[in-house]
Each structure stands twice: as structure tokens, then as C-alpha cells.
């Protein structure tokens, strides 16, 4: 036996308590872990209740179909027994008349009417008209009484429409968000051109985000490049010019751009003074104004990641390339530029993600032709109270954002997504 193991033996507690020390240590470690883990709990619970849950319940509204399902349950149950051909059994009519009567005078009747009108235009007035005539006098033949109120109650198609609309969920809103719908035969069809607006809006959102990202890259790259090359003191000066607008309220900047771009504004005055145009150019309430303001707001988000990547690029590689006879521009393009790609990727994705969700800037500076998806989400929530449609468009926008965010998180790691400011 060596001296070392002798000492170890001497120091070791009696055999029985060896595992207990190990256990105690593990238990203490576990306790510490649990304690620190518990620190995350308040925020996790807070975000679950005030953020994750609301968004999840919003998204379920995009497939929610409660109007007929919840308000005409008996009718639907009776309709199940019907083969869909010829007239439904009289029990269907009786259940329907009873349920419509009890829905009369409550918001439910309007919900049913609105929902059925989506199956076939004109069903809204059919429901309202029928409800007005209810209740039917006692001991009448319900089917013939309803058919007397409106001949459509005698058609199988009307009842098929009620059955079709009675599911607990519907793909209607999600399909509508990409300009598709289901026809009476259950096929997915493209919406008629006069109703097909959303694909257009989505493409516009995508396209405008792409343009703004491109402009930010073209303008931001030289700034970041020069900042990375200059001495600290000078680059801090430049940084101030980038950070001051970054910290300034978005509304202040939008107001400033209205002042600058209006017909009597500074930009038009300068353009006219140097003779570029005779009359003032229309720069506001069209795409020009929206692009200018959005690039102004998002440029810092491009410059900052670019700068942090460029700051870490060692100058020796370019020097080596030049000393080996590579011309300066070629060495910039072949040696320096590829090293900036992570910064370009991060900055571009960040700007693009933020762009897609923009609402305030197009709302204040654009015409209806500049409104992006966000505008329509707000519109359906506040103006027409069509929450299903708002939810479906939210689902599309959120899906696109999360896909891009995952790509972004891959690039930089989720905890390093910083320097994001409100829009």
C-alpha cells in the first residue's frame, strides 16, 4: 500500500457513511440546481399567462368554427341521420325551429346568419326572415310551415350547407388567408380575382421587406466598414450618429420624415432649388416615403451586427493577399468580403424579420397600397371584428417570422439576439 492510499483510507469515514457523503453532495448540488431553476419560474409563468397562452388561443381562433356548432347542436345531431339526398326527416325541421327560436333576440342568431351566409350568399336574410316568423303556431307541420316561410327550406342544398358549416373547426380562414376556399363539393379552389387580396398583401409584405433589407445592406455596409477600420475615437463618433436615431422614438422619426418629405418640405425645396424638378415631387403617402422612413428606422439594426463582425476580422489576411500581388479590390472582394458574410446574414435576417411585422410606419406614411399584413390583422380585429380572419393572417405572419427567427438563432445563438428595439 502506498502512502497516498493510506492517507485516503485514514481520512475516509467509516464504510457505511461513504455513499451518504456522495449522496449528500449530490443532494446539495440538486438543491442548488432546483433553487436556481426556481428563479426562472416567475418569468416563465408570467410569459406563459400573458404571452404564450394569448397567442396560442388567438391561433386556435383561425380554425375555430363555433357559430353553427354551438348554437344548433340538436339540428346537427338530427342531420347526421340524413343521407343528404331528398328532404331531411321532420325531426331536423323541428329541432331547427326550436333552436332558431331560442337563438332569436340574442347575438347567436346574427352569428348563425353570418356564418351560413359564407356558405351561400342570401342565407343571412333567410335566417333573419325565418327567425322573425318564429315561433310557429302550436301543432303545425313544421317542415311545411318552414317551406312556406321560404321555399329554400324545401331544398336539400340548404340543409347540406347547415351540415357543412357545423364542424367544430374549419380550414376556411386559413385557406382564405392564401386566397383559397372550399367549394360545395369539398374541393380547394382559388378565390375569384375580386376577392383574392391576401396573396397580394403577403407578396407585398415580402417584397417591401426585401427592398428595405437590400437598401439597409447597401447603406449600412460602408458605414460599418469604415467604423471597423477607423481608430476607436473616430469610430465612437460615427457610432453616436448610428445610435442616436436608434434610441430616438420611432414616432419622432416618422414625424420628422413627414416634415422633410412633404410638398413644402426641405427635400422638395432643395430638389427645386438645384433645378432637378420644377414642381414638388409627391414623396409622402406612397412607397417612397415608407421606404425612406423604414430604412432610416432599421439601418442601425444592419450596421450593428455588421460592425461587430467586421471588428473581429483581422487585417492580416487582406495584407497577405495584397503582398502576394492580389489587387486591392480583388483582395477586398475575395478575402475580406467573405468574412463579413455572417454579419450580413445576421443583419439582413434581423432587418427582414422586423420589417415583416411593420405596422406604424406604413400606417402613417403610406397609402392603402403600402399596407402590409399587420395592417390587415389590426383591421380585422378593430374594424370588422372578424377574429377568425385576423387569427389566420396572424398564423401566416407568425409562421414566416418564426422560420426566419430559427435560421437567425442558428447563426448567432438565441441569447445573442440583442440590440433589437421597438418598431
Amino acid at each position: 500500500m502506498t502512502a497516498a492510499s493510506n492517507t485516503a483510507d485514514a481520512l475516509a469515514p467509516p464504510a457505511a457513511s461513504v455513499p451518504s457523503l456522495k449522496k449528500r453532495l449530490r443532494r446539495a448540488e440538486m438543491r442548488k440546481k432546483l433553487l436556481y431553476g426556481a428563479l426562472i419560474l416567475p418569468l416563465a409563468v408570467f410569459l406563459l399567462v400573458a404571452f404564450v397562452w394569448p397567442i396560442a388561443s388567438l391561433l386556435t381562433r383561425s380554425i375555430d368554427n363555433p357559430e353553427v356548432h354551438d348554437n344548433l347542436p340538436h339540428t346537427l345531431r338530427e342531420l347526421k341521420a340524413w343521407d343528404g339526398e331528398g328532404m331531411p326527416p321532420a325531426a331536423v325541421f323541428t329541432a331547427f325551429a326550436a333552436e332558431l327560436e331560442s337563438a332569436k333576440g340574442s347575438p347567436a342568431i346574427a352569428e348563425i346568419a353570418k356564418r351560413l351566409n359564407r356558405e351561400e350568399t342570401g342565407y343571412r336574410s333567410l335566417i333573419m326572415k325565418t327567425a322573425r316568423k318564429l315561433p310557429l303556431p302550436a301543432d303545425t307541420d313544421v317542415p311545411s310551415a318552414l317551406t312556406e316561410i321560404d321555399a329554400r327550406w324545401g331544398e336539400a342544398e340548404t340543409w347540406r350547407a347547415i351540415r357543412r358549416s357545423g364542424g367544430a373547426t374549419t380550414p376556411f380562414y386559413l385557406l382564405a388567408a392564401i386566397d383559397r376556399s372550399i367549394d360545395t363539393h369539398g374541393n380547394i379552389v382559388t378565390a375569384p380575382p375580386e376577392e383574392a387580396v391576401y396573396v397580394n398583401v403577403l407578396m407585398r409584405t415580402f417584397w417591401m421587406s426585401l427592398i428595405v433589407t437590400g437598401l439597409c445592406l447597401v447603406l449600412g455596409f460602408p458605414v460599418a466598414y469604415l467604423m471597423a477600420k477607423l481608430a476607436t475615437k473616430q469610430s465612437n463618433m460615427l457610432m453616436f450618429f448610428v445610435l442616436l436615431p436608434f434610441w430616438t422614438s420611432v414616432l419622432v422619426r416618422v414625424a420628422a420624415w413627414i416634415i422633410l418629405l412633404q410638398n413644402e418640405g426641405l427635400i422638395n425645396k432643395v430638389l427645386m432649388a438645384i433645378g432637378l424638378t420644377d414642381g414638388p415631387l409627391q414623396l409622402l403617402f406612397n412607397r417612397v416615403g415608407v421606404y425612406v422612413a423604414m430604412v432610416h428606422i432599421l439601418l442601425p439594426f444592419m450596421v450593428l451586427p455588421l460592425y461587430s463582425v467586421m471588428k473581429g476580422i483581422s487585417p492580416v489576411y487582406v495584407r497577405a493577399a495584397v503582398s502576394l500581388g492580389c489587387p486591392p479590390f480583388k483582395s477586398f472582394w475575395k478575402v475580406y468580403f467573405p468574412q463579413t458574410l455572417p454579419g450580413i446574414g445576421a443583419g439582413a435576417l434581423l432587418v427582414f424579420i422586423m420589417c415583416m411585422g411593420y405596422y406604424i410606419t406604413p400606417a402613417l406614411l403610406g397609402s392603402p397600397q403600402e399596407q402590409m399584413v399587420s395592417y390587415f390583422i389590426a383591421f380585422y380585429t378593430n374594424q370588422t371584428i372578424n377574429w377568425g380572419m385576423a387569427a389566420a393572417l396572424s398564423a401566416v405572419l407568425l409562421g414566416a417570422t418564426l422560420v426566419l427567427y430559427m435560421v437567425y438563432a442558428r447563426y448567432l445563438g438565441p441569447t445573442r439576439v440583442k440590440l433589437v428595439k421597438p418598431r
Binding site: 416563465a44 394569448p54 406604424i360 399587420s374 389590426a378 421597438p422
Partner: protein, 274 residues
């Protein structure tokens, strides 16, 4: 920078780059410079040349009931939501740095996701969710929603600060008899304070500039400063907007300077230790 033996092409590159950057910087700073003088315009128009110097618009915003209400509301909602975000965010950041468990990366991504989810979606979701709970048109609802938007900034900045924090210092404190609470307040907190404060500044700026969620949640009594500016810009844009803007620019300069100071302090402390 430019060597005396530089070729004409290199000279053109040198000055061309600086010229281009100069133009971009003017583009960045011009709007902020343009709006400030107009807040002193004697006239009611927001355009140059100015009619004369006057303080009437500042008088207006400090005496008009609407602007006063908006300012007061902002000064209620933003500090409260910032405080909530700072407490919850700091605790969570400490927890995230000190533990490791499966799914931690996913949890972290969820905790900072309010930063990337389009704010309109947050607004609509919270509005529909809060309405039956009676939280729309209330300060409570607004504070909660703003804290949600601000908390990722606290989590990210405090996490970043803690990554440079030596947890042996806490052990040392414990070994000298401090209980965990004392050790936190006497050792951890002072050292990570710059991170917490800069995260808090981000959260404050987020709330203080938040329009979209406020548009959905706030009733006219909870109109905040940005909400009031939004309707001001939309309905009748007057130099009163420029006056508010000037005050906000002053505030953002102040925040920027504070943040820069914190950053330098942090760098100095780290430099010393290295």
C-alpha cells in the same frame, strides 16, 4: 490613414468611402436635427423658413389636458412595466446562467421570443385574451403587456453580463457566512448592476415608445405619449408634435449617454480583472 504614396485609385476609394458614409450619416441624423428648431416656431406650420422664435408650443403641451394626461400615463406605465421586467428578467437570467437542463435552449428562445413576434400579433392576442378578464382599458393590462415586450431585453443583457461574472465570489461570500440573500444583494447585484440597468433602459425605451399594443389595449384615459403622438401625426400635425419630439430626443440622448457610461464602466472593471 492615407499614405502619401497612395495611387489615385486608392485615393478615390479613400475619399469615396468617406463621402458615401458621410451621406448615410447625414441621412441618419438629419430628421432629428430638422425637427428640433421647428418646435420653437412662432407659426402653426411645420416648415422652413420659420416665422420666428416662440415657446408657445411648449406652453401648449405643458398646459393642454390631453398632452398632460398622456405624459402622466407614460410616466405611470413605463416605470412600472420596466420594474416588473427588471425583476422577472434578472431572476430568470441568473437561473438560466446557473443551471443546465434539457430544453434550456428552447426555454431561453421562448423567454426572449416577445422580441421577435410581430408586435401587432402580441397586441391582438393580448387584447382578445384580456377583454373578458376586464384588463383592457386598465393600467394593469397595459403594464403587463409592456413588461412582456420589455423583458427579453433584460434577460439578454443580464445573461451577457453574468457570463463574465465570477460565481466564486458568491462562494467566497457564503464561506464568510453570508446567507444567499445577503450574498445576492452585497456581491452579485452590485457587480451585475450595469447589465440590469442597461436592460432596464431598453425595457423602458420599449415601453416609452410603444404604440401598437397600446392602440389595442388602452382606453382614452390610458392614452400614453406615443399613442397621443400617433393620433397627433395622423390628424393634425402641429409644432406641438415637434415640441414633444424634442423632449423625447433629449431623453434618448440622455439614455444613450448613460448606456455608454455603463458600457465603459463594465469594460473598465473587466479590464482590471483580466
Amino acid at each position: 490613414m492615407l499614405q502619401p504614396y497612395a495611387s489615385p485609385l486608392e485615393r478615390a476609394w479613400h475619399y469615396g468611402l468617406r463621402g458615401l458614409v458621410g451621406i448615410v450619416l447625414v441621412f441618419l441624423i438629419l430628421p432629428i436635427l430638422v425637427i428640433v428648431p421647428l418646435s420653437f416656431n412662432a407659426d402653426t406650420f411645420l416648415m422652413y423658413p420659420m416665422a420666428g422664435f416662440s415657446m408657445r408650443w411648449y406652453e401648449e403641451i405643458f398646459t393642454s389636458g390631453q398632452w398632460q394626461l398622456a405624459m402622466m400615463n407614460s410616466l405611470i406605465v413605463s416605470p412600472l412595466s420596466t420594474l416588473l421586467a427588471m425583476v422577472l428578467g434578472t431572476l430568470a437570467a441568473i437561473g438560466l446562467v446557473r443551471t443546465d437542463f434539457p430544453g434550456k435552449a428552447l426555454l431561453t428562445a421562448v423567454l426572449i421570443s416577445p422580441m421577435v413576434v410581430p408586435v401587432v400579433i402580441v397586441g391582438v392576442a393580448v387584447y382578445i385574451f384580456f377583454a373578458p378578464l376586464g384588463l383592457t382599458g386598465s393600467y394593469t393590462g397595459l403594464v403587463i403587456a409592456h413588461a412582456v415586450l420589455g423583458v427579453p431585453f433584460v434577460v439578454t443583457t443580464v445573461t451577457a453580463t453574468l457570463q463574465g461574472f465570477d460565481f466564486n465570489l458568491v462562494r467566497a461570500a457564503s464561506s464568510l457566512g453570508a446567507n444567499p440573500v445577503v450574498a445576492f444583494f452585497k456581491v452579485t447585484l452590485p457587480l451585475v448592476a450595469p447589465g440590469i440597468i442597461s436592460g432596464g433602459l431598453f425595457a423602458f425605451a420599449t415601453s416609452f415608445d410603444e404604440v401598437v399594443v397600446t392602440l389595442f389595449l388602452a382606453s382614452p384615459e390610458q392614452t400614453t405619449l406615443p399613442r397621443q403622438m400617433f393620433s397627433g401625426i395622423r390628424e393634425n400635425i402641429s409644432p406641438a408634435i415637434a415640441a414633444v419630439a424634442t423632449i423625447l430626443i433629449l431623453l434618448s440622448t440622455l439614455m444613450l449617454v448613460t448606456l455608454e457610461g455603463l458600457r465603459r464602466r463594465n469594460e473598465r472593471i473587466r479590464g482590471k480583472r483580466a
